[in-house]
Amino acid sequence: MDFRKLQSANKVKTTELLFGMALLVGVVIWALMTYFGKTGIGVVPFAVGIALLSVWGSYWSSDKIVLTMTGAKIVTEAENKQLYDLVTEICIAAGLPVPKIAIVEDNAPNAFATGRDPNHAVIAFTTGILRVMDREELQGVTAHELAHVANRDTLVSAVAATTAGALALLSDFMLRMMIFGGGNRRDNNNNDQNPLALIASLVILILAPLAALLLRLAISRKREALADVTAVGFTRNPTGLRRALEVLAADSTVVHQKSTAVAHIWIESPLDGSKTSQLFSTHPPLASRIATLRAMEGNL
């Protein structure tokens, strides 16, 4: 497959998923209106506001927060010339400014990149990945991470997280209102409502957070697939990243920080993939990523 076609296909998919999220918001607002009438709408700004506040801060200073959370140490050009060169090379291929480069003391091979825009980006490698991979493989990993920077994936995931967060809050508010005071509110204007619509809106309010979570994870998986393809666009060498992913697949050590809060930023999911189902994963399975890259080999 041609990387340019794959790239636009993945972008279209993300747009569709984000559109799906917007649709979900619409449906939830409809459910609110149906169940609680106009008073229901009053909580929407609160839910969106709280979600925005909680996600915005971590988006805006994502570079600093993640460095603290993972204990990554910034390295300078003088301290690790080869790593600096490796990252600079891909930055030239991508037309990006050179990001801050950091190393995480951890035996598990893994890497991540974050930052609100290319000028505030940070790319980090574990000591494990620097030890087990050769230059070609590390080049592939670097390209994948810088692809996240180039594709603004911190922003995409912040948008997805905000929407999912707002929906979870809305649903929570609503269910509380139903339990503690639903009876009075319902008098407003929906006595004449179709009971089927009421039941449907109740079901929607209960299921919306789960649907939002699934959409958010699907977006995360698409962005991972896109980053693999964009990486090939930078290096024109699918083999390096494919071999790197094979090294990760063969490796059984897992990053010590099993926190779900930062799971999505690593190149390989630090959470044990075999136990969580595909639907609840932040990353596509390694096997399918390897297969896609293999299909691109000899086809550039």
């Binding site: 010339k81 080869q82 060169d85 490796l86 600079t88 090379e89 891909i90 030239i92 291929a93 991508a94 037309g95 050769d134 230059r135 070609e136 080049q139 930078f234 290096t235 024109r236 060498n237 550039l300």
Partner: protein, 184 residues
Amino acid sequence: MKVVLFVVVILVILALLAIMSRNRLVRANISVDEAFAQIDVQLKRRSDLIPNLVETVKGYAAHESGTLEAIVAARAKSTQATTFADVAAADGQLTQALRGLLAVTENYPDLKASSNFLALQEELSSTENKVSFARQFYNDNVRTLNSAIKTFPSSLFVKSAGVSVRPFYEVDDPQDRKAPQVKF
């Protein structure tokens, strides 16, 4: 009244589209210039490495004076090159000459063991990668510009934006796409 409003809205939308298409061309053209400047920066870096490299290799491999002279000559040509075609041609020659040198150094264990040479070799192969990625980035940008020039609606604004189809930066080098592999 309604008709007038409708016409005005349509005109505003068309004007915005026109401005966006023209800006797209201008921006693509600037990107090509910037990408070429990046090639220039990397070629200059590579040029700067060569005197040191030649000195180091000379001490260990006096027999390779032919290879070294080829490099010095290619470097001189590349520093004098001014036109786009000359820069690319000189770049290709120097790339090949350097690759020839790195190939013959295999025969000199003393040289390969020298720490000075090892540092130079890392520097040189990284620079070689940077040059090659800078060329690739330039060509990607030329591709974007050229396709904007040829596709509608931006094709309508080629004259007013003052842009034209730009040539790809092609180096006469069969191995160009393959960055040299260095293990570390």
